[in-house]
Every structure is written in C-alpha cells, then in structure tokens.
Assembly symmetry: C2
Homo-oligomer: 322 residues x 2
C-alpha cells in the first residue's frame, strides 16, 4: 500500500506521521516548534525525528510517494513557505517545502493551509468520503474554511483560498482580527461567542454562567454550555444568537459553493446536537432551498488526527493518488 510522509506545523508543536493510502497512520510523533527560534532549527529537528520514525518503520524515503505539509496561513505556495503568519515570526520566505524535500531524497513536497488540508483530509479519509463537493469549516478560536470542488482541493492563486471566517455579517459591528468590522468569525467563533457572553454579563444580566466560570474574565464557551444545560436564560439567548449568526454564514457558504456536504470541526462542535440540530435548521432557512436540499451538514470525523491526515491527503493529491 502506498505511503506518504505528512507534517502538521503549528506555532507550538510540529507533528509528523507516515500515512497509508487508506488513511491509516502507521506511525507519528511531534517536536516542539520553538517558533521564535526560526524555521531552520525546527525543520532540522522535525526531519531528524521523522527520519527516526522511518527507520523504526523500516522505511526509506524511496518507499514514500510524497511529502505533505499543513501549515498556518497566509502562505506563498509558489515559494513553498509561510508568508507573514503571525504565530511564525521570521519564517516568511523559508521554503519549508524545499527543505523537507531535500531532507528526504528530494521527494515531491507540497505545503497547504491547515484548514485546506483538513478539508481534503475529511474528503479523502473522513466525513466526506464519496462526496464530490465539500466545504470544511472549523469553529474554534476563529472560523476557518477549506473547499474541495469536484474532487480537487481549492488552493487559490497563492494557496490562501477559503478564508470563510471573513464573510461579512454586518458592515459595522465588532472589530475582527483581519481589520474589518462585522466578519462572521467576529460574531460566531468560540472566541467571539465567549466575548459576547462576557459583554452580556458585564452589562449586568444575571446568569449561572458566573457560578461555573468564577469571574467574567474567565468565561469560555465551556461555561456557556454548562449553564445552558441547566436552563440558564442568558446562556440560551447568547446561544440562540450564535446559532443565528452561524446559520447566516452557512447559508452564504451553501449559496457560494453548492456543496454536497459541509463538515464542521473545531472546539465549538463539542456542543454536539445542541449545535448541529438548530444550526442546520438556520442554515437551510437562509440558503436557497434547492441548494440546501442537497447539502448535508455533519461533524468532522478525523478529530485530533486532522492535521497529519490532512497533510497526507495533500501529499497523495500532489502525487496524483489515490
């Protein structure tokens, strides 16, 4: 069975694994990124650790098809590097793609945005198996996206496609990290839901959320879910608003991509049916009926493996397989 070497670059951890073409992770590991110390030391250490893994698995680079790398954006795919990624200062211009290729017998290597890699991972190995048009969405610190169009990952002109968290919901509204106001993620990411909860508490609305969180400053969506579970009115209001924002954005995603399936991951999906059931209803109410009718909205299947498995899917795509 064919195999690839996959890397999942993050600001704190640099994970890697050998993945077979059925999606099985044959072995994996991780090193500290030590992002502030620059890319050369991190790539050198992760390559050494991955080489060690290959030795344990009795594999040589020639036994592998390709290398895939999932990385935080923005990227410059033409140069195979990150391009101004806030959590990877000093990494811009360093060809992670080229250096990892060199370290493993010049295997073909490909870098992709981590959300885009997750989209292809869910498409090939996860919740989207057998579909042709998939949108992946992560609702966590921000809202990130990726899209597979008729079986191929949408990468865009320089590898930065599907920044779906910046679909507008309002022309003004809360300031977003991107500099605009009123972006989807400024209303409906986990961070934004927690912020809106804190604002409501600070405005003096009574709620059992404080009992769980201890203080307003410490409120997270976890405390919101706890208070909702015992019927807290403020928590339910904040959640209903959040569902409405999520539905409006998903309606736009459906109208934009006409997907067969939207796969949703990220920390906020811990809410389970309390998220998916009302969110689907709102999304389909906002979307064109004929587009909503053919679109499933389901939880992500790959879980914590999504980084490495997504990067592996990109490596297989780069190699023209499976």
């Amino acid at each position: 069975m064919r195999k690839v070497l996959a890397f999942d670059l993050g600001g704190t951890k640099f994970a890697f694994g050998v993945v077979a073409e059925d999606g099985t992770v044959l072995g994996s590991g991780r090193v500290e990124t030590l992002a502030e110390a620059g890319p050369a030391q991190a790539v050198q250490r992760v390559a050494a650790a991955a080489q060690q893994l290959l030795t344990e698995l009795k594999l040589k680079p020639a036994d592998l098809l390709a290398i895939g790398i999932a990385s935080p954006g923005p990227l410059d795919t033409a140069r195979g590097c990150v391009d101004g990624s806030p959590n990877l200062p000093g990494w811009t211009g360093y060809s992670i793609e080229g250096e990892l290729s060199k370290a493993f017998g010049h295997l073909p290597a490909r870098i992709d945005n981590d959300c885009n890699a997750a989209a292809l991972g869910e498409y090939v190995f996860g919740a989207g198996k057998g579909k042709r048009n998939l949108v992946y969405l992560t609702i966590s610190t921000g809202i990130g996206g990726g899209a597979v169009i008729d079986g191929r990952l949408m990468r865009g002109a320089n590898g930065n496609a599907a920044e779906l968290g910046h679909i507008p919901l309002t022309m003004d509204g809360p300031r977003c990290g991107c500099g605009n106001q009123g972006c989807w993620e400024a209303y409906a990411s986990g961070t934004a839901i927690a912020r809106r909860t804190r604002e409501a508490l600070a405005a003096g609305r009574p709620s059992s959320i404080l009992k769980f969180a201890g203080s307003i400053e410490q409120v997270t969506t976890h405390h919101l879910f706890q208070a909702m579970a015992e019927g807290d009115a403020l928590a339910q209001d904040i959640w209903a608003e959040s569902i409405n924002y999520l539905g409006r954005g998903l309606g736009a995603v459906i109208n934009t991509f006409n997907p067969d399936i939207i796969v949703v991951g990220g920390g906020v999906t811990a809410a389970g049916d309390a998220l998916f059931v009302p969110m689907r209803a709102k999304a389909f109410a906002y979307a064109f009926p004929r587009l909503g009718a053919v679109c499933a909205i389901v939880p992500a299947a790959l879980g914590g493996n999504v980084g490495v498995v997504g990067a592996a899917a990109c490596a297989f795509e780069a190699a023209g397989s499976p």
Copy 2:
C-alpha cells in the same frame, strides 16, 4: 478547427450560434422563447433555426464536438433541466439537454447556469485568458457570479454554485428577492442602487437626478451617472455608498476564492473607470493584503456575446477541449 453548437436561453430570447475553438462565432441567430408556452415549442423552434444555420454553414451535427446551453437558474444538472426558474414557468423537469442532444444526432450536451457559463467564457475566450482562478461577477438587475477554480468551472452539487449576490452585508437591512435581508445584491445591484437613489430623493434631498429622470419613479442608474457627471452631491453620496458595498462584497469574494482575476460585467459597468477605480481600492482595502495583491479586477471582455460564447466554452469543457 473544432466547433460546437451553443444556446443561450433567456426568458424572452433563445439565442444560438456555432462557435470555433478560438472563440470565433461562425454564425448565430435567435428566436422568441415564448416562455409561457412551455419548453417543447421553444426547443423545437430553436433547434430548427439552428439546423438552418448549420445548413447555411455547410455543417452537419457530426462536424460538431458538443452542445452547450446557458440557462437562467436554478438548475437541476442531473436531469439537464431548469428547476423552478421564475422566468421559465412550466419548464421544470423538461430536459433541454436531452432534447437538444436528440435534435442534433445525440451530440453530448451540457446545460449550465448563465453566470457560470459566462465565467467559463471569460476564462477561455475573454478577459481571463491565461489565468487559472477566475471569478465572474455581473452587476445588473441582481448580482450574479461564477467561478473557475484551477481551470475548471465550479458547478456545485446540482449546477447552482456561485450565487454570490447573496453574500450577506447585514443581518437586517433591505429585503432581497431570495427572502433574506441584507444580501449584497439588495444593496449594490443596479436595481438596488436605483432603489436607494429613489429613497433618498423621496426623503427630500435636492438633486439634479430628477432633471434627467423626469420623476422619482423613473430613476435608474443611468440618471445617477448623468447627475454624477455634473457633480451632483446626492448622486456622489449614493455612488460612494454603492462603491463601499461593492468593495465589501468583493473583499469577501477575494478572501473566499483567492482568485487571480475577477471579471466584472453587467449594466452598472457602463460607469467605466468611475466604477472600477474606486471599487478596486475598496475591494483591496477589505480583502487580506496577500490575496488582494495577486488579484486583478477587470471589465468583462465578451460583451453581448457572453451568453453564446459562454455556452460554447461549457460545450468545449464537456468535450474535454480545448
């Protein structure tokens, strides 16, 4: 040189042409659609007229590669038909694709949404030649879109992808034809710009627009452009707001698709540089800088031919050529 037969279905006219693979229209014609009389009579008459054209050009169906059909949406591409198109009542379920194929020696036929066909037309034969990732946008009665992703038309699960006019700009705001409030096209289509102008005039703001239009009810974007040209303050305010709405939506389009080029057509583009120069500046201000930096925003090149030439591009794509 290879040739296709292309049809451009509209609520009032059903145009057709024979198009060569360099985009040359070798011959064309049109019949009345008489949409209310149903699809069979229209397809029969347009097929007869197209057959006549083939005879004039000394061509047989076997000299053609395929048939392309551009049609108003929504579509059901699996059945090759329109699916609830408001201007084609009674046409749902009638396989335009199948009937036109049958009429011309069972040539392969393919139906596409007219904006999607326009996108592929501009990509293959128009302003997008040589680019890989293109978004087409028409700003006219509504705002319609189409996208070519890495060289292939994005059709979606049932042929209805790229309904970009329904990207939200606000959660409330003006009612849109789709049933939602605050959609992009409810603020920035030609119709919406004229409506916002009439509302401002009805609120009593003085303006020379009335001099050109005669009465508030008759105001169109044409009168707005006339008043702008002589420095009318209200016209300039409405236009600046419109540019801001257009820029916010284009920013979302850039962040969603990371395109090399956005090709803009439709009646509002008659404003020329008065539209494109400030609209580009706003779009790039709202988009992520690294995505805006690689994206051109240019006027459509195909003009009135876009329907037939777009359908021809779809026919060539369906046939795997050029």
